[in-house]
C-alpha cells in the first residue's frame, strides 16, 4: 500500500467532506462525528457527476452515510454500497491520519 498525503486533518470539518485529486481520479474524504475518517470515490454513479464530497454526512441505523447532493442517493461510507438502489456502489478508498495529515492509500 502506497500512502499519499492530501491535506491536514484540521482542514476537514466534522461531518463534512472535501475532494482530493489523486492519481486515478477524484476521492471524497469525510471526517465523521467520532473524529474518524472515510474515503470513497467522488463520482456519484446515480447522477454521473463528481459531487459526493459535497453531500450531507449522517447515519442510517449504525452505518455512516453520505447523501448525494443531486438526487439524494445515500451511500454507506464503510462499504460504498448505495442504500437506496442496489444497482449503484462507489469504490472505497483506504484512508488514515498520520502526524496530523490525511493520507489516501493505493495498491503498491
Amino acid at each position: 500500500m502506497r500512502w499519499t498525503g492530501v491535506c491536514a486533518y484540521t482542514a476537514l470539518l466534522p461531518e463534512r467532506g472535501v475532494c482530493a485529486l489523486v492519481e486515478g481520479g477524484q476521492v471524497a474524504v469525510f471526517r465523521l462525528h467520532d473524529g474518524s475518517v472515510r474515503a470513497v470515490g467522488n463520482h456519484d454513479p446515480a447522477s454521473g457527476v463528481n459531487v459526493l464530497s459535497r453531500g450531507i454526512v449522517g447515519t442510517r441505523g449504525d452505518v455512516p452515510t453520505v447523501a448525494s447532493p443531486l438526487f439524494k442517493h445515500v451511500y454507506d461510507l464503510t462499504t460504498g454500497r448505495c442504500l437506496d438502489d442496489g444497482a449503484y456502489a462507489v469504490p472505497v478508498v483506504p484512508v488514515r491520519v498520520r502526524d496530523g495529515r490525511v493520507e489516501l492509500g493505493s495498491a503498491a
Binding site: V18, L21, V49, R54, G55, I56, G61, V74
Partner: protein, 833 residues
C-alpha cells in the same frame, strides 16, 4: 332517444354524469338547457368566489363532458315552456327541443320577503355567481351591510360580507340564529361566537319595510330603531322553482316543488324532477346530497333500473364564520318520549346535546355548537344501540377518555354511502396506508369531507399509524422540533439529536434543523457546527446544477435595477463565461460557475452593492412588482416601493420552503401576485392582501385574506403570517398546503394572526422584529472570513485545479453543459492536443 335536462346546477350536472356513466351504449342523446352563463359550479362553495376563486375553479363539469354530439349544453337560454302533448320544450330564445324523457332540475330561488322597498338598488340575493358579482361591484364603495335571515344561508352571507371587510349586521325573525338546526341554548352559544366577531345580531326582529337612506338603505323594523347600511342581502331561505311544471299542468307538493314519486317521476311518465325543485312524495330537500341521490335514481330509471329514492339524512355539519355547527337525526327531540342530555361549557363556548330514546339505549340525534369534532363519530351511531351510558359520548374526550365504538355497518361517509366495514376491507385488502389512499380507493371523504377525522380513526383501528416523524432520527414533526428548540434554548444539532433524537442525522433532518436554528437567531448559517448541516446549496451559497456547477442570483429587490448594476452583472457573466437567463421572479440567474469561482464572482457583485438573493435557500426569494402608480396610467398605488420594502424586510428569512411575494399596482395584476405565497393588489383605499398562492406542481391562486389595508397593517399582518408559517409548517410545505392542512383553514389563520385567539401575536411580532434587526448579507460575511473563503475549492490538495468532468459547448452565443455525445468529441479533442 332524446333526454332533455332543464337546469345545469350541481344536481342537473350529476344527472348527466350518472347517465353517461351508465349508458355505455349511448342510448340517450342529452340536451341541457341552462339559465346561467356558467356551466354547473359548486354552489356550496359559493362564498369562496368572493375570496378569489374563479368560476372555472368552482366548476363541477368533468372535462370533455359536452365535447361530443351526444351531450349538448346551451348556456344562458332557460326553458320557458313545456308542451307535454308534443313532448317539446321551448326556450326563452325560441329554441324548440323534443324529448323522450325530460328531467327538471331547476333548483330553487332565494326567498325575498314581500316587503315594500325590497327591490331597491342595493338589495341583493345570494345564490348565483351573477348575484355575487353584483354584490362585489357594490362592495367597491360599501362599508356596511345587513343580512336579512339568520339561518344557514343567512350566516353564510354574513360570513361573506364580514370576510370582505364590511361592518355587518344580521336580522332574524325567529328568536334565535339557525332555528332549524339548533335549539335555544345552542343558538345562544352560536350568537356569542358571532358577536365576538363584531357582527351585530338582531333576533326576534321583523322587518317592515326598506327605504332609501342617502346612498344606502334604511331597514325599518317592528318595535325598534331602524337599521342602516350601504347594502342589504336577503338570505332567508329558498323556494322550489316549480313554475315551469305548474304551467305544464303538473301537480305541486303541499309546500311547493314538483310533485314526484319515489322514482322521482311526475304523474307524466316522461317527466322527472330532481334536486331542490322536486317534492319527493311531497317532501322538498334543501341540501345538495339528497339532490345527488335523486339524480342517481333518475339515471338508473332512464336505463331501465328499479332505483327508488330512499329518503335522506338531513344531518348537517358546517363551519360558519369559523364556528362549528352540527345538527343530526332528531335534533329537536320530536320522537315521543325522547330524552335530552346536554353538556355546555360557557368558558370554551361549546354546546352539545344528544337526543336518546326513553330508555337511553338508542341515539336519535343531536346538536353540536362551537366544537363539532364529535359529529363524525356520532352521526353514524344514530339508530344504533349505544351499549353503554350515553353521557360518555357527550363529555369531551379528555373527561372520559372514551370514544364511541363504531358498528361495522355504521355509515362513515354518508355522501358516498361507505360503511366502516367497507373501509376496513379496503384498508386491509388494498394495503392502504393513509387518508389520501383511502379517499382514492373508496371515495369516502371526497364529498363534504366531514368524515375525514373518522377515516384517520378507522386507519388507526386497522393498525395503520400515520407517522408524523420526519426521518429515523427524530419522532417529531417540524413544528414540534421548532417548539423544542425554542423552549429549551438548544442551539446545536448535536445537542438536539442527543437529547431528542438518535443517530447523527441525515439529508432530511439536518438542513431542517439548520433552518429552525437560523429562524431562532442561531447566527450565520455557516458558523460553527451549522455549516455541516447545510446542503450543498446553502453551504456554497449557490444553486447546484445537473453537472455539479452552480448558479448565482444576486438580489434585485422588486425587480428594480440600476443600469450600473445591470452592467456589472453583464460584465461578471462575460468574464466568468456564465450562461445568463432572466428568471420568473424578475432577477438574473448566472449559470455554470465552479465552486472556486464563486468567491471571485461575489467579490465583484458585492463591490457593486449587490447581495445574496437566497435563490439557494428555503427562504424568501423575490417580491415581484409592476411599475405601479409611478409610471403606469392605471396604477393606484406605488407597488414598486412596497415590493422593495417587503423584499428587504424579509430577505434572509429561513422558512420550511421557499417563499415568494408579489405586489400589483392595480387590479390588472401585472405582477401575478396571486400566484405567490403572499400577493398584494393595490386598491383605491389601500392594499388587498392575498395569501397562499403558488405556481409549481399544483398551481394555486392566493385567496383574499384582508381588503383595503393601510401599509402599516399590511406589514404587521404579513410579519405574523410569515412567522407563524415558519414556526408551524411541515418541512417542504408551501403556504397553500399549510393553510389547507390547518383545521379551519384561512378563517383559523385569521383568528390566530388577526384576532390573536392564541395570544401569540406579540411574540410573532417580536420574532420578526428580531429577524429584521439581525439580517446580514451571507455573501459579504463569507467574503470577510478567509477561513470560509478557503472552503471554496474543488480539490483540497490542488486549489488551482478544477473538475475535468465539467464541459461546456456553445449554443446561441452562450455556454451550456455538454450532452453525453458531445462530451466524447470534446475528450477526443483534448487527447489529440
Amino acid at each position: 332517444m332524446r333526454l332533455v335536462v332543464v337546469g345545469n346546477g350541481p344536481v342537473g350536472q350529476r344527472l348527466v354524469d350518472a347517465v353517461r356513466e351508465r349508458d355505455s351504449d349511448r342510448r340517450w342523446q342529452i340536451t341541457v338547457l341552462a339559465e346561467e352563463r356558467y356551466p354547473a359550479y359548486d354552489r356550496v362553495a359559493l362564498t369562496s368566489y368572493l375570496g378569489g376563486r374563479t368560476a372555472a375553479e368552482l366548476g363541477v363539469v368533468p372535462a370533455g363532458c359536452y365535447d361530443d354530439r351526444d351531450a349538448v349544453l346551451h348556456l344562458g337560454d332557460p326553458a320557458a315552456a313545456i308542451d307535454r302533448a308534443a313532448r317539446t320544450v321551448t326556450t326563452a330564445a325560441g329554441r324548440v327541443v323534443g324529448y323522450d324523457a325530460l328531467v327538471l332540475a331547476t333548483g330553487s330561488a332565494p326567498f325575498v320577503p314581500p316587503l315594500p322597498g325590497a327591490d331597491l338598488p342595493g338589495c341583493f340575493v345570494y345564490r348565483t355567481l351573477d348575484d355575487l358579482d353584483a354584490i362585489r361591484r357594490c362592495m367597491a364603495w360599501a362599508r356596511t351591510g345587513i343580512v336579512v335571515g339568520g339561518g344557514l344561508l343567512g350566516l353564510e352571507a354574513v360570513g361573506a360580507l364580514h370576510g370582505m371587510g364590511l361592518d355587518t349586521q344580521v336580522v332574524e325573525m325567529a328568536p334565535r340564529l339557525m332555528p332549524v338546526q339548533v335549539d335555544e341554548a345552542g343558538g345562544h352559544v352560536l350568537r356569542r361566537h358571532i358577536e365576538a366577531l363584531h357582527v351585530t345580531v338582531h333576533t326576534g326582529t321583523r322587518t317592515e319595510r326598506i327605504e332609501p337612506a342617502g346612498r344606502g338603505l334604511r331597514l325599518v323594523v317592528a318595535g325598534g330603531e331602524p337599521l342602516e347600511a350601504d347594502l342589504l342581502v336577503f338570505s332567508a331561505g329558498v323556494r322550489p322553482r316549480d313554475a315551469l311544471a305548474r304551467d305544464a299542468g303538473l301537480a305541486r307538493g303541499p309546500r311547493g316543488g314538483v310533485l314526484v314519486d319515489a322514482a322521482c317521476r311526475t304523474a307524466d311518465d316522461a317527466v322527472y324532477a330532481v334536486g331542490e325543485c322536486a317534492a319527493v312524495d311531497g317532501m322538498t330537500y334543501g341540501l345538495v346530497a339528497p339532490g345527488f341521490a335523486m339524480a342517481e335514481v333518475v339515471a338508473d330509471r332512464l336505463l331501465g333500473g328499479p332505483a327508488q329514492f330512499p329518503g335522506a339524512d338531513m344531518s348537517t355539519k358546517l363551519k360558519l364564520l369559523g364556528v362549528d355547527v352540527a345538527s343530526f337525526g332528531d335534533a329537536h327531540a320530536a320522537t315521543p318520549g325522547a330524552l335530552e342530555l346536554v353538556y355546555s361549557d360557557q368558558v370554551a363556548g361549546t354546546y352539545a346535546k344528544l337526543v336518546v330514546t326513553d330508555d337511553a339505549r338508542v341515539l336519535l340525534g343531536g346538536i353540536l355548537v362551537g366544537d363539532a369534532s364529535a359529529y363524525a363519530s356520532l352521526r353514524p351511531l344514530v339508530g344504533a344501540e349505544l351499549g353503554g351510558p350515553p353521557e360518555r359520548l357527550l363529555l369531551p374526550a379528555g373527561l372520559t377518555g372514551a370514544t364511541p365504538d363504531l358498528p361495522a355497518a355504521a355509515q362513515v361517509c354518508s355522501c358516498h354511502a361507505v360503511t366502516r366495514a367497507d373501509l376496513v376491507t379496503a384498508i386491509r385488502t388494498g394495503g392502504l396506508r393513509d387518508v389520501a389512499a383511502v379517499k382514492a380507493c373508496t371515495r369516502a371523504g371526497t364529498g363534504c369531507g366531514s368524515c375525514v377525522p373518522l377515516l384517520k380513526r378507522v386507519l388507526t383501528e386497522c393498525g395503520v399509524t400515520p407517522s408524523r416523524a420526519l426521518c429515523e432520527h427524530f419522532d417529531h414533526s417540524r413544528a414540534e422540533l421548532f417548539d423544542i428548540v425554542r423552549v429549551t434554548g438548544i442551539r446545536t444539532f448535536s445537542q438536539l439529536v442527543a437529547a431528542h433524537g438518535r443517530g447523527r442525522g441525515c439529508d432530511l433532518c439536518k438542513p431542517m434543523v439548520a433552518s429552525i436554528l437560523a429562524s431562532l437567531g442561531g447566527g450565520p448559517i455557516l458558523a460553527g457546527e451549522q455549516a455541516a448541516l447545510q446542503d450543498t446549496n446553502d453551504h456554497f451559497l449557490a444553486n447546484i446544477q445537473k453537472d455539479g456547477t452552480y448558479s448565482v442570483v444576486p438580489r434585485i429587490p422588486g425587480g428594480e435595477i440600476t443600469p450600473e448594476r445591470l452592467i456589472v452583472i453583464g460584465e461578471v457573466a462575460r468574464d466568468f463565461g456564465l450562461y445568463t437567463k432572466i428568471t420568473g421572479g424578475q432577477r438574473i440567474d448566472l449559470f455554470g460557475a465552479r465552486v472556486e469561482q464563486l468567491p471571485a464572482i461575489w467579490r465583484r457583485l458585492t463591490d457593486a452593492g449587490m447581495e445574496s438573493g437566497h435563490a439557494y435557500g428555503k427562504a424568501l426569494r423575490t417580491v415581484k412588482s409592476c411599475v405601479g402608480q409611478t409610471w403606469c396610467r392605471y396604477g393606484v398605488q406605488d407597488s414598486t416601493t412596497l415590493a422593495i420594502d417587503l423584499e428587504l424586510r424579509y430577505r434572509g428569512l429561513r422558512a420550511p420552503h421557499k417563499l415568494k411575494g408579489g405586489v400589483s399596482g392595480c387590479a390588472r395584476e401585472c405582477a401575478e401576485a396571486r400566484g405567490k405565497d403572499f400577493g398584494i393588489i393595490a386598491t383605491e383605499a389601500g392594499w388587498n392582501l392575498y395569501l397562499g398562492g403558488n405556481g409549481g406542481f399544483t398551481p394555486r391562486h392566493a385567496e383574499l385574506f384582508a381588503p383595503d389595508l393601510d401599509t402599516g397593517s399590511l406589514v404587521r399582518t404579513l410579519d405574523r403570517f410569515l412567522m407563524y408559517y415558519v414556526r408551524t409548517a411541515d418541512r417542504l410545505q408551501r403556504t397553500a398546503a399549510w393553510i389547507e392542512a390547518m383545521d379551519g383553514g384561512l378563517d383559523q389563520l385569521r383568528r390566530v394572526i388577526v384576532d390573536d385567539v392564541l395570544g401569540i401575536c406579540a411574540d410573532l411580532d417580536a420574532a420578526m422584529a428580531a429577524h429584521v434587526a439581525s439580517y446580514r448579507d451571507e455573501w459579504a460575511d463569507t467574503l470577510a472570513d478567509p477561513e470560509r473563503v478557503g472552503r471554496f475549492v474543488s480539490f483540497v490538495n490542488a486549489p488551482a485545479e478544477h473538475d475535468g468532468g465539467v464541459a461546456f459547448v456553445t449554443e446561441r452565443g452562450q455556454p451550456r453543459p455538454a450532452r453525453p455525445g458531445e462530451r466524447v468529441l470534446i475528450d477526443l479533442e483534448v487527447v489529440r492536443r
